[in-house]
Subunit: 425 residues, 2 copies
Amino acid sequence: MVPVATGAAVLPDHSIVVRDGLIHAIEARELARHNNPEAVRVDLTGQAVIPGLINAHTHAAMTLLRGFADDLVLTEWLEQRIWPAEAEHVSAEFVADGTSIACAEMLSGGTTAFNDMYFYAASAIQAATDAGIRIGCGLTYLNAPTSYAKTEDEYIDRGLDAVDTWQGTPLVTFAWAPHSTYAASPASWGRLAKLRDDHPFPVHVHVQETATEVEHEVEAHGLTPIARIHRAGLLHGPFAGVHAVHLRGGDIPLLVEGNASVVHCPSSNMKLASGMSPVTQLLRADVNVGLGTDGAASNNRLDMWQEMRTAALLAKIQTGDPAALTAEQALTMATIGSARSMGIDEFTGSIEVGKAADLVAVDLSGVASQPVYDPISHLVYVAGRDDVTNVWVAGRRVLDNRKLVFIDIERVKAQAHQWHQRIKA
Amino acid sequence: MVPVATGAAVLPDHSIVVRDGLIHAIEARELARHNNPEAVRVDLTGQAVIPGLINAHTHAAMTLLRGFADDLVLTEWLEQRIWPAEAEHVSAEFVADGTSIACAEMLSGGTTAFNDMYFYAASAIQAATDAGIRIGCGLTYLNAPTSYAKTEDEYIDRGLDAVDTWQGTPLVTFAWAPHSTYAASPASWGRLAKLRDDHPFPVHVHVQETATEVEHEVEAHGLTPIARIHRAGLLHGPFAGVHAVHLRGGDIPLLVEGNASVVHCPSSNMKLASGMSPVTQLLRADVNVGLGTDGAASNNRLDMWQEMRTAALLAKIQTGDPAALTAEQALTMATIGSARSMGIDEFTGSIEVGKAADLVAVDLSGVASQPVYDPISHLVYVAGRDDVTNVWVAGRRVLDNRKLVFIDIERVKAQAHQWHQRIKA
C-alpha cells in the first residue's frame, strides 16, 4: 500500500479497513483479519493500493471533441475548430453525454475525483454522481455568450442554481470558475469576491498559459493575471491556478502568500506548445502543485498515469537534471496535491484513517512490470491506466475487476457515436 | 487499415490477404471475400490494422534492471548503479531471461521487430525467435571488458560466431554495433570498415547523446562522433545513429550525404535529461528518423505507443509549434522509419503487397477512445499498448486476442522474480 500521507512509507502486506465509506484502520494484514473477523475481504495480492488519482483540471464534456482537431496552430485550433463546434453543439445533453464518457474513462483508469470547468453544471453533476465519481463542479463564467448563458451574471446565476440544488450532495463540491482574467470582465471579479464571502468555494481559473496572454494582460492592466487576481482579493487557498506556464518574478511570492495552488497540465502544455511550467521551482518555493489532464480536445487522454509520467520526464528535460521531479513527487501531485488545489484534502487525496475510502488497486504483477524493485517508481514510470483493476469512491466499489459498476458502457458508446455523426457533419 | 506506405491513405473496410507469410493482396472487404473463398477470416470490426511497430533501439535484456535506479543524476545512475549491477550479473542466462521479458512486453504491445544492442547475441536471438518477434541483433562491442568478452576483437569474434550460426534464419538480421565513438577504440573502426565489406550489415551506434560527449570528442579528435564515423567510412545506409541529441552544424549534411538514419528515443532522452534531438529539423532535411524505447533501465516501458506520443508532444514544445511532428509523422517514424534505420524496409515497416505480414490490430472501440474523428490521430494521441488485440509476424499470429502464443508468461515471470531476488541482494 502506498498511502501518500506525510511521512508515510510504502506499507507491504497491510490491509485497509473500511467502514461507512471511511478508512477506519490501516493494519498489518493478519492483525486486520484478527480485528475484523466479520469484514468482507478483497484479496489484492500482487497489487498496489494507492489513493484515488485526482484530475485537478479538465473540461469533461469535451471528450465529444476528442481528436476533433489535432496538430494545428493554437489560433486555428481554437478559433476555427473548437469554438465553432462548441457554439453549434454544446447543450445540456452534450454535457451529460460527454461527461459520462469522461467519467467512464477516468474511473476505469483510477481517477476518483475531477475538477471540472465547463457549462451546464447540473448535467455534469448528474453524470458524475450517476457514475459514482467525485466532481468539483466549476461555476464557470466568461465574458462571451454561449447557449448556456449570455452574460457573466447569467452564468453565475445558473451556477448558483446548481449550488442550491446540489450543495451537500455526496461526491459534489463546487468551485468558482472564471475562465481566465482575459475572458472575464474586471467588474466580474468584484462580484466574485463578494459572492465568495457567502459561498467560500475554491477558485478554479486558467492563468498564464501562454506568453501572449501574459504580455497582453501586463500591457492592458500593468499586472500579470496572478497579480490581478491577488488584487481582486481572490488569490487565497483553496485556489487552483491552472497551467501557470509563464510566470514573472512577482508571481511565485504571491502564490506563496495566498497559499494558492498551481495545477500542472504537462501533456496539454506540450501538445499546444504553450511552454513548460516551472514546476520544480514552484515546489521548491513550497507552492502546492496539483496535476490535471485538461480537456480531451487538447490531450487527448483523461489519463492521470500519463500526466504523472509526463510531468516527471518534462521536469527533467526542462531543468537538465534527471533527479528533478521524482516519482514520489509526481504521485504526490496527482493525489494529495490535486486534492489541496480543490480544497478537498481534508477528506481525500491520501490513505489516512478518517479520510474517505477513495482507493485504487493497481496490478503490478503483469509481465511488462517485471521485476519490481521500487513500487513508487513503477507506479509513475511503468504502470498505466490499464493496470488499474478496482476502484472505490467513498468506500463504494465503482470499478470491479476492470468492469464499471454504475455506467452502462454500451449506452455511453452509442451516445458518443451519435454525437460523432452530428459533429463531423 | 492504415498502411503507412508512401501516398497511401487510410483504407476503411478493407481486408489484407496473407499467403505464405506475405501480404498477397489488399482489397475492399467484399472483394477479398469473393476472391478468397477458402481463406481463414479474422474479423477485426472496430479495430485499426497497422504495420507492426518497430523498436529501433533497445537493450532488451535490461528489462531485468527495470526501475532498478531512477531519479538519479547520470553519472550516479550509470557508474554507481547500472554498470556494477551489469558487471555482477550479466551472463548468457541473464540475457536469455531478460530478452524473453522484453519480447513478451513488446509483442503484446504491438512491436514486431526490435534493434537490439547488448551482449550474448546467441541468447538474445534464441529468446526472440522462440517468442516469434524479429530481432536486429547487434554485434556489440566496446573498449572495456565484460563477462561476455575482454577485448574488442573478442566481442567482434563472438558476434561473428552468432552470424555463422544464425544468418539466414527467419526473423533474424544483424547490425554492427559499436557502443559509441567514445567507448570504441579508433583502431576498431578500421577493422569494422573492412569487416563491413564482407558482412554488409547496418551499423547501430549511440551518437551525440549528451553535450559532454560531443565536447569531449571534439576536444580529443577535432571531430564530432558523426564526423568521425563518416571519416571511418561507416556513415552510410543502413546506418542507425541513436539519440543524435546534440548535433553541430556539419552533422546533418553528413547524415544526408550518407543516407544515414537517426533513431529518436524521446522518453530516454527526457528521463536522463540528455536534451531534445532536433527531429523536425532532421525530417525537414530529409534525414530518415526511426523511433526507439532505449533499455528498460532508462525508460522504463518498452512501449512504442508511448514513444510515438512523446515524440509528437516533445517536438511541439521544443519548436513552439503545435503543428510540429504530426501524428502521421510519428506513426511513420515508428514503422517504416524504424525499418529503414535497420535496413529491413524492403520487407517490413508498411502494409504493401509483397511485404511480410507484420500486422497489428488495435481496438479503437473502447469508451476511452470515443468518438473517433481521425484514426491516425487516435493511434498516436489516444491509443496505447493495451488497445493491441492481435499481432502477426511474418503471417504467424503471435498475439491472439491479447494472449501471447509462443511465450509461457508464468515461466517468464518466475524467472524475473528469481533475478529480482538475486540482483536486489
